[in-house]
Symmetry: C3
Subunit: 446 residues, 3 copies
């Protein structure tokens, strides 16, 4: 019987996306070895088979060159090219909020809102290059652009330490709670001082390094930034600044660690009109109970300190941020801080991402929809404070007392209930508002 080369495909194609073509060929070769050794096939058949095998192997490798493996990553799909160096992932998040205000004089606007509706695409090319694009469809036009960057992650070869150089639109490295994704923050909204002072996303470039010292992760980054995608005044030179953050997290056993961090940011404001203000930790209202108009400002300095600690199901997190503005009406200095505790009734721990120096996804030990699971239950309490009064600048003060209950039904689905008592020394509205705020959120990400 004459064996044609093409007939051996069956042996060679004992491959799937799970192994390399080389390993397959080895296995097929081995099978032929056994059959020859046992006299099942003749030496002539063996030779023909091995010849065919080699030809087929080449064809297979060529055909497999651009083959892609698809794997589930959490609730989204990740694509990896079998020839290595390329991957691609799409995903998103949806958050639906409802909020009710009392004692608000009818000004705050109870109702429902689509808080975030984002999709992203990200990937890697030739191992060391990466990109990410994320858009929030609740934004308007280019104002919905969140992350839009390219990065080079091959620094280890150059500097001997992990890290990346990133260019585009993304978060300036400032504040623990700001760097922590909205998917993972403990309360529905970030604390007052973070909302007021953190620069969030702008167009710029950063170099960020990270590593470990005896198992304790550290992160250090510094970048230069212009204005954001939506703030471009195209007939005036843009403002620009330099921002840096460092963090370190000594660990003391399983799920026991302390995080310390510090951020600093300077910006040349190019004499732009500058206003500082924030909502009462409830996004559905557009009303700001504290707000200060600085007029034309020349430059700003901001500095922040971070402390967090996790002991199994219990955790603490707090930040202090101070800012200095050089304005045409004189200098101004404002500050604020917050602190909160969280406890998982079901025994989980808040999870830490050593590569970013921020918190990441909590994975409940029991999942709703899987064998009668009931999810993870978390209770939290927060105090936050902002002071926008300084000399002639009279933006007001606000103290918020919040309680939250989070139900992590699955790693990707979270229900949140927040209550906040707002104690504001408002200087702007006709009547001082001290509302009770009741809020709920249904959040899913994939």
């Amino acid at each position: 019987m004459r064996l044609q080369r093409g007939k051996l495909k069956a042996l060679v194609l004992m491959l799937s996306g799970l192994t390399t073509a080389n390993a397959q060929a080895d296995s097929a070769q081995q099978l032929l070895d056994v059959l020859l050794q046992n006299g099942t096939i003749t030496q002539q058949q063996y030779t023909q088979l091995v010849d065919g095998l080699k030809t087929e192997q080449k064809d297979t490798l060529k055909a497999a060159d651009n083959k892609v493996t698809v794997q589930r990553k959490g609730a989204s799909m990740k694509f990896n090219s079998d020839d290595g160096g390329f991957d691609f992932q799409v995903g998103g998040r949806v958050m639906v909020d409802v909020a009710g205000f009392t004692r608000d004089n009818g000004q705050l606007g109870s109702g429902a809102e689509l808080r975030r509706a984002r999709l992203f695409a990200k990937g890697a090319m030739w191992d060391v290059w990466g990109y990410k694009f994320q858009y929030d469809f609740t934004g308007t036009g280019r104002g919905g652009i969140r992350d839009a960057y390219l990065q080079y992650a091959g620094l280890e070869n150059l500097l001997g330490v992990n890290g990346h150089v990133r260019v585009g639109n993304f978060k300036e490295p400032f504040s623990l709670e700001e760097i922590t994704s909205s998917k993972y923050i403990t309360f529905m909204e970030r604390a007052l001082p973070v909302e007021v002072f953190s620069p969030s996303r702008n167009i710029g470039g950063v170099i960020q390094l990270n590593g470990e010292v005896s198992g304790a992760p550290w992160v250090a980054g510094v970048g230069m930034f212009g204005e954001g995608v939506n703030k471009v005044n195209k007939r005036k030179d843009q403002s620009y600044g330099v921002t840096s953050r460092i963090s370190y997290a000594p660990t003391f056993g399983k799920n026991k660690f302390v995080h310390i961090g510090a951020s600093g940011s300077w910006r040349d404001l190019q004499d732009q009109e500058t206003t500082l203000s924030t909502r009462p930790e409830a996004h559905i209202s557009d009303e700001r109970l504290v707000s200060v108009d600085l007029g034309n400002a020349e430059s700003a300095w901001k500095a922040g300190a971070e402390l967090a600690a996790v002991w199994g199901p219990a955790s603490f997190q707090g930040e202090y941020i101070r800012s200095f503005y050089d304005t045409v009406s004189g200098d101004a200095e404002f500050d604020g801080y917050y602190g909160y505790v969280s406890y998982f009734l079901t025994g989980e721990s808040r999870a830490y991402d050593g590569k970013t120096g921020a918190f990441k996804r909590v994975k409940p030990m029991s999942i709703v929809g899987k064998n009668g699971g009931f999810g993870a239950w978390e209770f939290a309490a927060r105090y936050s404070y902002i002071d926008l009064n300084d000399g002639a600048f009279n933006g007001g003060r606000e103290r918020n007392y919040s309680f939250g209950l989070n139900w992590h039904a699955t790693p990707n689905i979270r229900l949140m209930a927040n209550y906040t008592y707002v104690d504001s020394d408002d200087t702007r509205l006709e009547r001082d508002l001290d509302p009770h705020v009741f809020q709920g959120r249904l959040q899913a990400d994939f």
Copy 2:
């Protein structure tokens, strides 16, 4: 010859995405059994091979854990995780319109338009959780958000009946033609009373159940809704309402059924300025030939009745909708109705989705691009009527006579030609407009 464990990958990896690792191992085991039984391999070789097999099987199962299978669903791609419970799908629709008006005094604006350009992502997690996000890029900012919801579909375990609880932005359950996707409606635009009265998408929550009584599908849903993603006035309490729809479809053989349905909706309008109006069943014009300004309205009631019937290639569909408004200038009551017949010259039937109580995709028996196929041809005629006059409220009346020809070239590609004679008693424009409207659409979805 010593067989190493790693060498057996070839046998184990006789898998592909089409079977489970267990079945593969069974097959490989069986092959070894045959070879041992026939004396092709020795007992020692057999034992080594089986040992290796088991080890490899474990590795394979582990590697396959997050593996995903990609399958074509219509013209889009659907991803299913091999470990079950997760799937993900992306798709979209594009509709390109052209319209010409005569006798319009130059006011209606003939031309071309991108009517819809939507993408969606949807999926399931842990079997019972689902999500969908859909955006129409012809919208502006968050106004382009269509579906954006999360749902829990595990009601069967709790209530013993199929159904879901859904939270987010989606269509209120009201009106057969409104619930039927724009991909599947018979004319280019929905009928006058549906456009004027149906609440369409808002942010809220719904519980919807469905089942069958002796093969006849029924659907019942009720939900509470605030305002839509784009209507949020953030400094005033939002309006809110309750909406419900039930439908039932007794069947009398293959492609023969009757659909009956009823919807009701109540809304606390919070004294908002309220206007009712609609285009002349032609979207490319922004002109409204009927329009009534109700001033500040306190609340609204709406009720609708639905009737449809399919006898093979022929079908009928009609609705009557009545509404009551409680305004500061007194009560107002308006109504409207439509009815149409459709006939497939090529023998297809309009298809019904028992889970939503609405019509779904027509699949032509012959497909253009496949063996000389010529698609499905459908002819339809509609009469629709709206009356926005009541006492002091003088919004006008409109009667539209429409004829349509649809060419379903493939299940996913449809060309539509519509002619409408508009007979309006306009009270708002200087001159009463009774245009002839000629429209065409090219539609593809994937």
Copy 3:
């Protein structure tokens, strides 16, 4: 030993996404033939095995019916259905710019910008149908829609020549540099006359054919277009026009060819207010140094001539465009041209796409991130000229002298540095601006 049919899956499933079920069955059959011939298995076993094989083959083919193969295409993922006729691809581009102006009197606005942030989805259905949707998230609302079209590509069967009929929103066939994708143009911005005169994307329909004459590709297209997605005035008849382009590229060996082309366009402007203007080949500024207001215009004629040549690493490209406007204030005639040379220091050639008659992606011979690669380096110099003065119309003249350095780090990642000296005879601004422009871009596409 009784062999059950289900046990043979292993043999049948020696398939993967790389071959067809038929080929697999052939291979499995062949294996059984060998084993029978050598007496390893009995005739009875053989018959059972072959029977089982056939049953399994049917099941496998059925299961594989909607199976999809995923392959990497460049840096993005492409899905092909195994049953043929369907494919789907997603991808995108991100461009981050920084620009500095000197001698600009502070009017041009130095800073950073996200120049483009696009995602696309495209695919084919039943072989002959195709669609593409592309959105630029730096746009506003429907203004961000780029390509949104459907096409029928089965013309070869009808006309005996390759080509397509396309309907939707896409580029009118006019100008070599306009048709060349922004991913592949040599300078950061297209030349002055292309920016001013080319109609770019509008809603319409086109028929385009292409072929080869003794290895030299030609393209010919003609289409009719209304206005673009964002320009629709919905209470006035739209303007419309006819545009055509033909090109031909005689070749003289490897990477040696000449491209010649001509475009023409006529448009009924419907007495719309018409303005011609352009930025100084720097997008980050909103200032126009040349600008002419034509008032209400009745119609416009445009004609363009193209010449390009590639000799290995060196290339030339140039265009001349002339336009005629019929306005209520009389006729007006304007023109402009540009020419540039480019040279790859690393030996690559500019690549040509014979199907569109435009330039396409340069693939560097050495890739950064792969074995110490250093990418491709390209130097270019351009002169461009626009004259918007004619009789009473005084829009000004501009001459730009540009130098560019492009670093193609990988086929998908490009860094660009551009310097332009602007020599404008501005008649509109108070002071004549002749700035030096320094620009940089980081570009990635996937």
